[in-house]
Symmetry: C2
């Protein structure tokens, strides 16, 4: 199959990057195959060859974002658990460092539009759930490691994961839907305080074991 | 003006309740003046008399939800700060006690659709910001009172408010967009742990003052 060859993979990568740019520019409502084709040097036919529907393209795009996230996180494997958690929080709030601030919030606005379709679209829901559970598992692994090496106190890692994920999701959505530009930075500060005062084992406040 | 008379107020209240039912049933995308008129014993003309546009009606509805929230919160003024905070968390996650569970999540789905319009609609953004800031001020007031009466430790109330609001917003949206029905209850558990372990002054872990 063409999609398994190197060329197919390169083309798919190019389509994903073009989708990314088109989403940031025009939003989800205005995303058309033509708008994506305009963002790279291929025709609409090439996109249709790889993705039958706009839905299939969007599901592939959510998968692409998840893979980018996983690669981004893997780099950081050597750092301490609390540093890794703070880096994860920053990445999930403001995007990976190589992306511009402007594009990140445009992308978040487009993803909110995709998410809003999810109650009516099983494929979106399935892929968003996969993304959620991957990030959740990443947080749980970091917290477990932190408990094991004594960085964090004894705490249910799932509770921490739920807190972080819901908080970051809510913050990203408030940031693009309210007349305030401080929610994301305030949230980073709040979560830093949670990590420092709640998660991190404090010398003076150790619990009796 | 008709809208200031008792009859006008009653009609507006009836329109708001009809809007509530229509939103829960059909979602925001399918919300029409006819669908609202079908939910009560008045004609479309009555609705148009009070609200020129669907946008004006939706802004009034967001205001109506905010007022319902404020009335709901005021009842609880006598309880301890930590109980009031836990009640607030429960109400914001699962709706006020008199609303059915089903309707609550249908409403949350419709409100997500309204919120998704906010980046492109200044009136929605303005009203959603007002709602956010009212809930924020409510949390700040409870935390300040809790610090004063010794229930909570010395903590920046604004940081707590940001954490709670983003977390609750993210949880409500995950609850209606993921293939999981446990995010809201998990979030309640997480925030209860935050209140118990992070906010509440612990006898054994008092900070030096």
């Amino acid at each position: 199959m063409g999609t398994d060859s190197d060329e197919g993979v390169d083309t798919q990568e190019a389509i994903m990057q073009a989708t990314y740019r088109a989403l940031c520019k025009d939003g989800y409502a205005n995303l058309t195959v033509q708008a994506i084709a305009d963002e790279f040097d291929k025709t609409k036919g090439v996109i249709h060859y790889h993705y039958d529907t706009k839905e299939a393209l969007l599901v592939a795009f959510l998968e692409y974002l998840l893979e980018a996230f996983e690669q981004n996180i893997a780099v950081d494997d050597q750092a301490d658990p609390d540093e890794r958690l703070l880096t994860l929080i920053e990445t999930l709030l403001f995007g990976p460092p190589e992306r511009g601030e402007f594009d990140h919030w445009e992308l978040m606005t487009a993803l909110l539009e995709v998410r809003t379709e999810a109650p009516y679209n099983q494929e979106f829901r399935r892929q968003l759930t996969r993304n959620y559970e991957t990030v959740e598992a990443t947080v749980v692994a970091i917290v477990e490691e932190g408990i094991e090496d004594g960085t964090f106190r004894e705490i249910d890692p799932e509770l921490v994961a739920t807190l972080l994920l819901t908080c970051l999701n809510g913050a990203r959505i408030y940031q693009v839907t309210l007349q305030r530009d401080d929610v994301a930075t305030d949230t980073q500060e709040s979560l830093e305080a949670v990590v420092a005062d709640w998660l991190r084992r404090s010398e003076s406040a150790d619990e009796p074991s």
